[in-house]
Symmetry: D2
Subunit: 142 residues, 4 copies
């Protein structure tokens, strides 16, 4: 199977913007979290199940580039894909685009671990993942 990917839609609300007149840098990370959550669900990690098992995908690193600002009322698309599977970490990449003008506004990479709470112990990734998505076991391309 190709590596899992998803797409989510956002509309920029007042609370996403700041007095510079554009979307605040932190707000994009909420957009990305929503996409990441959908992507995790596609990979078999459902939110409700997490609440029960207390096994959570935890962000261990974020890299985010802000290229163009989004504005109040903009309709945005967030695209996310599994990019890399390692022994105990997996990488996702995201981009936020504005269909109205085709601009890629934001690029983001996140590295995640599976952590058993409340102890906070990182787990090995399920072996099934590498078998299912061999594309993601090769090193990521910049």
């Amino acid at each position: 199977m190709p590596a899992p990917s998803i797409e989510t839609a956002e509309e920029v609300m007042f609370y996403d913007t700041d007095c510079g007149g554009v979307v605040h840098n932190i707000a994009y990370l909420r957009f990305i979290e929503k996409a990441r959550t959908k992507l995790a669900a596609v990979m078999g990690m459902e939110l409700r199940e997490m609440a029960a098992t207390q096994l959570f995908p935890v962000v261990v690193r974020t890299e985010i580039d802000y290229r163009r600002p989004a504005l109040l009322g903009d309709h945005l698309i967030v695209r996310g894909a599994l990019e890399l599977l390692q022994r105990a970490r997996f990488g996702m990449q995201f981009e936020i685009v504005r269909p109205a003008d085709g601009e890629r506004l934001v690029l983001c990479r996140q590295s995640l671990a599976l952590v058993q709470m409340p102890e906070g112990r990182p787990q090995r990734l399920p072996e099934m993942w590498a078998a299912q998505w061999p594309d993601a076991t090769a090193p990521a391309k910049s």
Copy 2:
């Protein structure tokens, strides 16, 4: 015409919850803002237009009752309706329900003014509104 009303859907994300294990009280107000924004659009106030005209609907009062908590992964419906039109203020009411068990989790009323920024001057409401939505000119029922 009956007073305008809308319905929006939310799925509870990690960033909506707190370490009490339930949705944080402030997060519901983001859900309600999204519904309010859709309702404002139905009433003719579009986000993108606001950014241009700098005429904004501004919340002047919120009353919110938290009756039952929502949990990670819950699918929620927010229902909003125009409730009251006065000379310079209008009232909206909202409820957040969880279809899975039919619970009404949150009830909220907000009073808004139309404010011309950056001066911050409140405007009279458009006269057309009262003509269009006579139901909303009667006093609100508790």
Copy 3:
């Protein structure tokens, strides 16, 4: 003893504002939560202890009036006080003022319950509270 009260200081950050050029209505509730947390600590409810006992003060109702907007960089003072003690609920009141011009920007009342998580069971308030703060057992004045 007089009813417990506290004062906290805030400086308005970018993330507190929106593209209307002023502080977003939701951001004030974060300021108030910080004050409420200090007030709870004065009343004997320490954050770290809550994390251990899972007994949390939970907001069951908020009323908030937005009178004047705060701006980027404003220095604000939040004043909070215990206002009312009932059998299973207690009320707090808050005001947010801007010392630079003496304006009272926001008034807020919150009603809280003590809830044992994860069951979500409301507890009776400690009897000691009424004995300690008799002022707060009389009905609140508007």
Copy 4:
């Protein structure tokens, strides 16, 4: 002069945490923004002045590593310093530590531009900066 640096203090509030029981990854970026704002003020960029001139330091890239989680009620210290001055960009680095156990919880680097709003035009950095803080004109060390 040595490159400017600052230190800010935070106490973890409920709204900073999520139902995993720890501070949410996005919340640390609010802590860092507060530190960045103080650091910008030390460098001569005052919030109130920005609101007037509409010349804003804008984050163009964030890298953040989450090493250990913070918990409700934790007292944290955020340390920030100017790290790098280029023609049109400047870099800051931050770390979040927990004095109680000496743990470094979070490491972060941000790259910023000076942007004139509402046009969104990036400006050259003031020449005075390089003269004042020669340490920051050398390439950053990992």
